[in-house]
Subunit: 351 residues, 2 copies
Amino acid sequence: MRPTLQTVADAVGVSRSTVSNAYSRPDQLSTDLRDRILSAARDLGYAGPNPTARSLRRGRAGAIGVLFTTGLSYAFSDPYAVQFLRGLAESVERHDTGMLLIPMSNTDEEASARAVADAVVDGFCVYCVPEWHASLAAMRDRQLPVVTTEIRDDHRGDEIQVGIAERPAMAAAARHLHALGHRDVAVLIADMAPATAAGPLRVDSPDAIRYYVDRERAHGVAEVFPWAEVTLINAAGNSRGAGAAAAAHVLDRAERPTAILACSDVLALGALDAVAARGLRAGADISVTGFDDVPEAARAGLTSVRQPSVSKGALAGELLLENKRETADRRVLLPTELIVRASTGPAPSRS
Amino acid sequence: MRPTLQTVADAVGVSRSTVSNAYSRPDQLSTDLRDRILSAARDLGYAGPNPTARSLRRGRAGAIGVLFTTGLSYAFSDPYAVQFLRGLAESVERHDTGMLLIPMSNTDEEASARAVADAVVDGFCVYCVPEWHASLAAMRDRQLPVVTTEIRDDHRGDEIQVGIAERPAMAAAARHLHALGHRDVAVLIADMAPATAAGPLRVDSPDAIRYYVDRERAHGVAEVFPWAEVTLINAAGNSRGAGAAAAAHVLDRAERPTAILACSDVLALGALDAVAARGLRAGADISVTGFDDVPEAARAGLTSVRQPSVSKGALAGELLLENKRETADRRVLLPTELIVRASTGPAPSRS
DNA sequence: TTGAAAGCGTTACCAG
DNA sequence: CTGGTAACGCTTTCAA
């Protein structure tokens, strides 16, 4: 049998409490005794206080659960996600807390729900999970603090929210294109619902778009361009490849749009790939905008809507772990900014 | 106070065990009683069995800890890491297990060590952590099953190992270049130790390289080219930007090497960026090879050493969670293959 | 099909 | 500075 605190206590001839103190409160006992206990523990092969037992007793798991969609491609392949996660990791670490990754399977929602129910955590951070996913219900059942990256009007209970104003942010990009004379634009969304086909999509209103972020950003475009004249393309995934494939759908048309607004930089970078592959010049023959302003965007000269990804993650962690009481502190709107680069330019005159 | 199993049991007028069964063994009681219990639980606001308590009692944490270096850039920004992680996630999920991310801070090793000591997990997966890191000692103290992605001769205890033969894999790339007539080559390593300066590095033997993977791959190069004639460049980070900056160091020399062997694809892609930025043609003016064969490599026409990243992760998870007994099953060598693309070509004749 | 009892390994409190 | 006592919330025999 594995040695426990008791084993060590017996060996040294002290009580459990003292051994416990030797590990968790070094100042509560003489250095001498502490050393004796620690070395006895080593000799006995005691692995240190059992974290599970400690958690139970302390009433603190020492970790937060991170729910994120696996989508068609793995979420972390988006640099934006990586940055968000880094911010989250930093603040979580400062609170001596870990991150339990809970990938949301799209094929087996029940498995994910079970994972959520069994997660040894003190709270959850939800990131890009479709609102209909079974695991979200399971999460609410846990009645733990929750932070989301979506600022929603239908504020669910007391979820903490940290995010950006999606519509105006995207509208800024749309307005930029409009000012450049563009009138015929396409919007690239990532819709990662299972079994969605990539390709053009015809919906009467942005409201019909399933994912919150896609939907809101589409609304932003609709604020500037009449929705009926906008071409909506579903990339069915959030990756560079998916973006390229989706862009191909409109680039190869006889009457191609003069601009493409992508809902993420990875999609936009893919669109640029497709543009280049056809020998077209971005910013001249066709304009492309992205969203997030990831490092690659700068390198590629991509006009993009910048959002503070790292801070978003850091704040999410901070708010979740400090669990502020005042509602004002539980909803943070972060600023965005349109960064104009070479990928956008005046609309070419139609032939 | 929060309701517990007992609260529900009292309310319904049954024993704790019955309520427990209602959740964990639905077949052990009548549907009727079960429904009564579950609805009472809902009314009382009972959040379901406490995962921590359950873990303690069952002796199973239901998660594995993933140790990875944060390096200078966040580890997941390497597509290779993402693929590995995806494989790991898949097999871990199949075992109804979660993944607890434990980033290894380079600036505060003790914090990481504490995180490892407190992690509620059943085992660890170590991925790209420098061997001297304090957290590894903390991990061994836990005496839990461990899987590494390095096949080492100094086989540490009974760690499970799944990896590739690093030297021969890299030697294949070197041999390919040698056959093309290259004699003056540079090697790009990622060495992410804290406070390392990027730039050329002069070491008497690959043995002096700190990171296992860098070291072994350098050895592979040394099997083909006399080490004294190889230029070693430290990118001090594993990112595209770091690769570009590192490559610049040799590209701007009067006598630049005719080929660059990068220890990862992201570094190689960065090198290609640097090559292109100087108006040089990869595969003609200078050859570049990568390692991993991530999707971007194909897109960029990069010659690379392919390794089965996803399977590596999947196998790591599998072996860790099944915890096979026989030593033969605890060490898996995965195949690699050199994929030749346009980024390598005959060595240009020296002017 | 249900219930009673016995822990799982720790930490917190309070007395000495 | 040290030790006894009482939880923490659950699962698991085993017997009824």
